[in-house]
Amino acid sequence: MTRGRRAARAGGAVAAAALALPASASAHGLVGKQDLPIPRWLFAWAAAVVLVASFVGLAVLWATPRLQQVTERRRLSVPRALEVLAGAVGVAAFVFVVYAGFAGTQAPTANIEPTVIYVFFWVGVPFVSVIFGDVFRAVNPWLAVGKATGWLVRRTGAAGEEGGLEPLRYPDRLGRWPVVLGVLWFAWVELIYANRDDPSTLSIMALAYAAVQLIGMSLYGVQTWSTRGDAFGVYFGLFARLSPLHWRDRGLYTRPVLGGAPPLTPVAGTVALLCAMIGSTSFDGFSQGRTWNSIVPHLQSFFADLGLNAEHALEAAGTVGLLVMVLFIGLLYRLGVQGMHTVGRRLPTARLAGSFAHTLIPIAFAYVLAHYFSLVAYQGQAIAALASDPLGDGSNLLGTATTSINYTWITATGIWYVQVGALVIGHVAGLTLAHDRALAIYDRVRDATRSQYWMLAVMVAFTSLGLWLLSAAAQQ
C-alpha cells in the first residue's frame, strides 16, 4: 500500500464508517484474522468439564480456610535506582507513543500507537501481570511523574511548615468508582467509538487521561489516588493479584497462587468494577454475534429518529448494549448473593457482595484471555514492523519494517483449546476462592458449603456465558 493510499484511506475512514453500518464484524481495523467460533463438540465437552470440575471441587476442597492469610517470603530487594529507571522508561514510552499519534501517519495499522494501546497496553499488560505481578506500577508514567513531583516538593521544602500541600481526605463513598468510569470509558472507545483507531484522537485521550491522573494525585495524594482512582493502574493491579509474585516495599515477595486475591478490600465500587470488566469483554464477544446484529438496526433507527446521524445512532446503540451487558453481569452476581443471604444466620447482602468480589478476578481474566489471546498472538507480531517504522513514514530503524504477521504458528484449533482452557481454569480458580472465603465468614462448615451452591451456580453461569459467546451459536 502506497503512502497516498494510506492517506486516502484515512481520509475516507470516517465517511466509510458511517456507510458500512453495521457490516464491520471485527472489533477494530487492527484485526487481520478473526477467530472461528468454537464448534459444538468442543462446546459440549467444555461444559461437561466445567460441571465435573465443579462437583469434584465441592467434594474435595479443604474444610478450613487456607488462602485468607498467606505468608509472603521476601526474595529480592529492588534498588532505588532501578525504580527511578523504570519510571523514566515508562514516561519516555508514553511521550513517544503520544508523539507518534500526532506526528505519524493516521492509518491505524501503519502507526504504532493503536497497536501499542489496544494490544500491548490493554491486553498485553494483564497477561504479563498475571505471571509477573504488578509490573505496570513500576513503569506507570503518570504515577512516576506524581512521585517525582512529590519528591521534588519535599526536597525543595516547598511544602513549608504550614502544611498547605497536605492532601485532601479521599471520600469513602468514592471508593473504586473512578476506576469503574475509566474502564467503561476505555471499553466504549475500543468497542463503540467510530474513531477508535484514529491515532491523533488516541493521543488526545491519553494526554487527557494523564492530566486527570495528575489532578487526582495532587488532590488526594499520590499513593491514595493510584490505588483508588487510576483506572489502568487499579485494573492491571487486580489481575496482578492472581500472580504468585508480589512487588512491595522495594522488594519482591512470593506467595501461594491465588493468595493475593482475598486481601482485596471491597471498598465502594469494587463489585461494580469487576462487573464492568466482565461485562465489557462479554459485550465485545456479543457485539460480533448474530443476536446483537439483529437487535442493532432497531436500536439504531430508534436513535436516528431522535435526530442522530447514522454514525452517532450506531454509537448510541452500542452504548446501550454495553451498559445492559454490564448490568446483566451485575444481576447474575447479585442473584448469587441473594441466594447466599438465605443461608445460615443471614449475613447482610451488602457484606456478602463485597466479601466475594475478589472471586470474580479469575473469571474476568479468563474472559480477557479467551477473547484477546489471538489478538496478542497475531497482531502482537505487528510490533516488529511498527518498531522499525513507528510513524509509518517509510523508515526502517531496526531493519524489520517489512516483517509480516505469521498467521500459521498457531491454528484455529489451538486457539480454541486456549480459549476453553482459560475459561475452565478461571472457573475453578473462582470457585476455589469463593469456597475459601465462605469458610472464613460462616461459622459452620455446613452453612459455608450450602452457601457455595449459590456461588457454584453463579460461576457456572459466567463460564457458560463465556463459552456461549465464543461458540457458533452466538456468532454465526
Binding site: 475512514a13 464448534p39 469434584v56 498467521y407 484455529a412 484449533t413
Partner: protein, 147 residues
C-alpha cells in the same frame, strides 16, 4: 476425607477427563476430516443461486461472485466458506473502482469501475478474514476457512 483420598480423587477425575477428552477429540477430528475431503465452497449471496449445472464447467463448483454496487456489497456482507487445504476462489464484480484487500492472506487486487477481478489461492490459514474495499474501508465479504 483424608488428604491422600482427596488427591487420589482429584487425580482420578483428571485422568478420566483427559482420557474422555482425547477419545472425543479423536472422533471429532475424524468428523472434520470427512468434511474436509469434500470441497466446500458455498456463497450465501446471489452467486449461490446461479445455475451452473448445465455449463461445461459443471465438474467444478461455481465460483462465488461478490457484487459491489455503489461501493457496497449487494445483499450485505457475503460469506465465503472454504475448507483448509482447498483453493479459495471468488470473483468481485464492482461498479466502483477500488482495491480489493483480502486481510490475513494479504492479497491486493485493483478493480476498475464496471470491471471484475478473480482471486484464487490455496486456503493455507484457517480463521475468518475480512475482504474489504480498501479505499472505501468497506467490508464486502467474510472469508471463512475451516480447519
Amino acid at each position: 476425607m483424608t488428604p491422600r483420598a482427596r488427591i487420589a480423587l482429584v487425580a482420578g477425575a483428571l485422568v478420566a477427563l483427559v482420557v474422555a477428552f482425547v477419545v472425543a477429540n479423536g472422533s471429532g477430528g475424524d468428523d472434520q476430516d470427512k468434511t474436509a475431503t469434500a470441497p466446500v465452497a458455498t456463497a450465501t449471496g446471489p452467486a449461490a443461486s446461479t445455475p451452473a449445472a448445465t455449463t461445461p464447467a459443471a465438474t467444478t463448483p461455481a465460483t462465488p461472485v461478490v457484487e459491489v454496487v455503489d461501493a457496497k456489497p449487494k445483499g450485505g456482507v457475503q460469506n465465503l466458506e472454504f475448507a483448509k487445504g482447498d483453493t479459495v476462489r471468488f470473483t468481485v464484480k464492482s461498479d466502483t473502482a477500488d482495491e480489493i484487500h483480502v486481510h490475513g492472506y494479504d492479497f491486493h487486487k485493483e478493480v476498475a469501475a464496471g470491471g471484475q477481478v478473480t482471486f484464487s489461492f490455496p486456503a493455507k490459514i484457517d480463521g475468518r478474514f475480512v475482504v474489504e474495499l480498501e479505499d472505501h474501508g468497506t467490508q464486502i465479504a467474510q472469508l471463512e476457512v475451516q480447519p
